[in-house]
Symmetry: C2
Subunit: 122 residues, 2 copies
DNA sequence: TCCTTGCCTAGATGTTTATCGAAGCAAGAC
DNA sequence: GTCTTGCTTCGATAAACATCTAGGCAAGGA
């Protein structure tokens, strides 16, 4: 549960380099980055992510009631966000708290910088 | 094939507003934005997207050989990118050419701006 | 101690997705 | 006209995914 559980996605290896539009991405980097986008590619996870990123930290008990879904389903989505390296979780007493990992967002944002396109595409 | 085919995703409605971290995203907006991230959430599509965005335009005939996949499979992924509003295609004579739609990237990038977080999350 | 609460994991199920081969269609060559 | 080439669509299949219920475990209160 705590951050000792190694994330599946190593953020230092991911999105470390050039924007999508700077040069064709090689297969290895694509395989590292795609899971990050995939994690955000579900409406439930996107809302969870937004709720988490909008505050310094938030308890699962405040996330679950915002959805018409069972607790285990929310837990499943949170696990995917954790494995993608987008959030961190920590148990404090009874509750588990989630926090966004801003460096992941910075890297993803840099990847989408289309102004890096070498030609008229921008 | 041509741009007369309405994109499934209306970019004017999508990602039009505030960054993920600015405030909790409502379900409607999440449903509009998630398909964009989902489209980028596959390694093949991410590489295709990068190849397309790296040049002003590119022919399918230059995209397909870069992958160990059949033509129909590449065509399928390109269709998803088209439906997400991330690329445009145009047939010119024998070949079909693809171009990136930079406004989609600008909007996605703005969404990931974590510096918009209201609190210490950044 | 036992009970309750909060959250996660395990297992099952229906849906979606990635992939292929076959077939179709448009454009150009002959 | 026919043939070839480039790309798409169609139909099928296997893998991945979202969701649920059931069960488990840790923390706190009685």
């Amino acid at each position: 549960m705590s951050k000792q559980e190694l994330p599946v996605v190593d953020l230092n290896a991911v999105a470390c380099c050039s924007p999508i539009a700077a040069r064709p991405m090689d297969a290895d980097q694509a395989a590292l980055v795609a899971p990050l986008f995939k994690a955000l590619g579900d409406p439930v996870r996107l809302r969870l992510m937004s709720m988490i990123a909008s505050v310094p930290e938030i308890c699962v008990c405040d996330l679950t009631p915002a959805f018409d879904l069972s607790g285990p389903t929310i837990s499943h989505h949170l696990k995917l966000l954790r494995e993608a390296g987008l959030v961190d979780s920590e148990r404090r007493g009874t509750w588990v708290w989630y926090r966004a990992k801003p460096e992941a967002f910075r890297k993803l944002g840099a990847l989408l910088d289309i102004s890096a396109a070498p030609a008229a595409a921008a």
